[in-house]
């Protein structure tokens, strides 16, 4: 029996990601996911004016700053019971959707599909077509994604001034109304992107795509026309399935979604009363039942993280983030280990679609489970749905001219108290928990989507989702781990939210 430890670090993810893998007879028997960068945001926020979180927290993440901003403002509004008018909810939703479309296009065609150009696949029948589509700076899908992702965030600039990193969602609303100029400009951007998405990603029209209800529908669609098979989603699907990505990378069966986009018709309500356009819930992988989501069920463990230890798990309102860097111990990451109902869960577009009951994704999931291909596929399917939803949101804004975009709260300062803001970012469930004492932030805890997915082991020794998605995987060539790259990138890793360091210790470490 041969056993070796290898260490890999991955590019084309957001931030720094390292894995330490134990191989035994060519199979992965243990995996440690290492978030190696520590930046200390939760410490920087303490003692500041609560509203400063609206400037500081978007800077947690360059790719999902709008979602961070939304989580921060929702938490403050909950503390102050500050209502928001429907037009502001719509503008916030529109910008959140634009950011997610941006992220999904970049993740798919800048980060994920480039691996299909790997020389290992040169004998695959679609290799030349894949290179023509996905090669960085040369492939038509890579170039298209660069161009379209650049355009879609112009919508955020119209309402927020710039992307990335603005602070236009303030307690009570947004800073600028949806003028007719902005609405038509935004529609024009959505129109162009929709045509581009149809031509590049689908090779067919959006309506036909959105009418696909089942696995059978989809596979029939794929072969119905040459343009479907040769589209970006067609090539991505065929390459993925030829390689076998529909048979690997499952991870935990438990799925979590906070729900996405506040319902403007329920504007002015707070959790748990408030409603979302895409449903929140917890898909219990043991029973297959979707249960109601309850934020009190969230805890974080630090048994294997470089933070001052405490026993078991703590809810974020009792959370503590005191760095305690112990490289020569069995602790291995700057990620905490979040758990829901004390279970290991995954979050992201696959979880969102299943919990929201989207027929095509549910059907594919029933057929083949939550594999690496489906996880990536669910992300692109979401883009199609959001393009339609953005148009609908813009028409609703147009139908309510001169509706108020902000109701400034009577008190300038946010009162003492506690609140949380839970949103769906491009990578899944994002939560901010804030406590305010004597007019300043006394505790701020952020649980990012990647914290859920990249979780280390918890105090009961259970692996996190990414770690478990690699266990049992056969590795052909430990010197060239392209299959691991596919699986990990299908989770859309974003490690900038955490911090990290490596302990190579006395292990034989091989950097690839």
């Amino acid at each position: 029996m041969s056993r070796r430890t290898i260490q890999i670090d991955l590019n084309r993810v957001e931030g720094d990601l390292d894995f330490q893998l134990e191989l035994e007879d060519g199979k992965i028997v243990d995996a440690r996911c290492i978030g190696s960068l520590y930046r200390g945001f939760e410490q920087i926020l303490v003692d500041r004016n609560p509203k400063d979180a609206l400037v500081i927290t978007p800077r947690i993440c360059g790719i999902c700053g709008t979602a961070q901003l939304n989580a921060a403002v929702l938490a403050l509004e909950q503390v102050g019971r500050i209502p928001v008018p429907p037009a502001a909810v719509r503008i916030r939703n529109l910008c959140l959707m634009a950011e997610t479309v941006q992220s999904d296009l970049r993740q798919s065609f800048l980060f994920f599909t480039a691996d299909f150009c790997h020389p290992k696949y040169r004998h695959k029948p679609l290799y030349e077509k894949a290179r023509a589509a996905f090669l960085p700076f040369k492939g038509w899908a890579h170039c298209g994604a660069l161009e379209y992702s650049r355009h879609i965030v112009e919508i955020i600039a119209l309402f927020g001034g710039q992307w990335p990193h603005s602070s236009y969602m303030l307690p009570g609303g947004v800073t600028t109304p949806a003028s007719q100029r902005h609405i038509i400009d935004s529609l024009s951007i959505v129109n162009k992107l929709t045509r581009g998405f149809e031509q590049m990603v689908l090779g067919g029209d959006l309506e036909t795509w959105l009418a696909l209800q089942s696995a059978d529908d989809f596979f029939a669609w794929l072969t119905a026309k040459g343009s479907h098979a040769d589209s970006a989603i067609g090539l991505f699907t065929q390459m993925s399935r030829d390689i076998g990505l529909h048979r690997v990378g499952f991870g935990t069966p438990h799925m979590l979604s906070y729900g996405a986009y506040d319902d403007p018709d329920a504007a002015g309500t707070f959790p748990p009363q408030h409603q979302r356009l895409f449903k929140a819930g917890f898909l219990n992988g043991d029973t297959g039942i979707i249960e109601a989501f309850e934020q009190a069920e969230i805890t974080e463990h630090v048994r294997y993280s470089w933070f001052q230890p405490y026993a078991g798990g703590r809810h974020p309102f009792q959370g503590q983030t005191i760095p305690d860097y112990q490289p020569h111990s069995d602790r291995y990451t700057w990620c905490k280990a979040p758990r829901y109902q004390n279970k290991v869960v995954q979050t992201g577009p696959l979880a969102d679609a299943l919990i929201n009951g989207e027929a095509l994704i549910c059907s594919l999931y029933q057929a083949e489970g939550g594999n690496a291909w489906l996880r990536q596929f669910a992300r692109l399917h979401r883009t199609a749905r959001l393009l339609l939803k953005m148009r609908e949101t813009l028409h609703q804004l147009a139908a309510h001219p001169n509706a108020p975009h902000i109701i400034n709260p009577p008190e300038k300062d946010i009162p003492d108290g506690e609140g949380f803001g839970l949103v769906t970012a491009a990578r899944g469930a994002l939560g901010h928990w804030v406590q305010i004492t004597d007019g300043v932030i006394s505790r701020y805890q952020v649980v990012t989507p990647t914290a859920w997915n990249a979780s280390p082991k918890d105090s009961e020794g259970r692996h996190g989702h990414w770690e478990s998605s690699l266990l049992g995987l056969a590795v052909d060539d430990p010197e060239d781990l392209v299959e691991i790259g596919h699986i990990i990138r299908s989770h859309d890793p974003c490690l900038v939210c955490t911090v990290h360091v490596l302990d190579t210790g006395k292990r034989t470490t091989l950097w690839l």
């Binding site: 930046r39 500041r48 004016n49 500081i56 790719i63 700053g65 760095p323 950097w511």
Partner: protein, 313 residues
Amino acid sequence: MTTLLWLQTGSCGGDTMSILCADSPSVEELVDEYGIQMLWQPSLSMEPTGRLETLIEAILAGQQTLDILCIEGSIITGPDGSGMYDPYRGRSKMSLVRELAEKAEYVVALGTCAAYGGVHSAPPNPTDCLGLQFDKKSPGGLLSVDWRSRKGLPVINISGCPAHPNAMTKTLAMLAMGLPVELDHINRPKVFFNTTVHQGCTRNEYHEYDVEDAAFGGKACMFFNLGCQGPVTMAICNTELWNGRSSKTRAGVPCFGCTSPDFPLDHDLFDTEKIGSIPVHLPMGVERANYMAYKSLAHEAAPERVLNKTMDP
């Protein structure tokens, strides 16, 4: 051909996301038209990370030329000066950047983090962050005040949180073309840092007539009450619009001074610090007494359409 290596240190990835939004020139144009060869860019390179290791070895051994070294992110020196809060393959990024800088013709700090320390160095600076050649306002960061790259320039600071997309791509294009890059007193290219955010702001008429908003969501100027630092911040936000469309101040968001070395200020960010009714920090070079006199006269002269805030920004 101009070779470029891009490393992320203590970063949110926002400057990479920002440069992908550049359109004049775009990143694709830098590659196709300006002959920039991206040896490595963390979000764009196709090769596995082993390629980066090979490149770094070749550069340090003098076998691979490095024309432009781009650094995105704060230089993290903690814990205890080890830099291991931000490691690269068992060593600190801090030490790696120091070595690579010696081999580069030009070193470019992309964003306020790499230039001056940025948001991660806000109190209590939990990870002991610095900029490449500054520590906030103080000269000298990871590299000493006197340090110069092989071409004889200090670190070129394209500050901003994030840096403006086109300020980054234009600077890289200038370097690739061999054009001179003139720097200001804190080593920012003058061509992007010789105008205020205030210049070109569509709320200027309100400022001109001293009509100031006291609550967010309005149409008037945000300088006196709402924390806007537009008149004291140097950047092109209102002369070369973001994403080709707008700017924070046009959209009713105060300028937070993110291109300045002391970003983010310790003071409340949505509130203007004042002496009496006048901001502590006046537009650059203005005398307080003159400014007060000018403001009261301006208010007297204001037309109804401005006083009543009927004009759209």
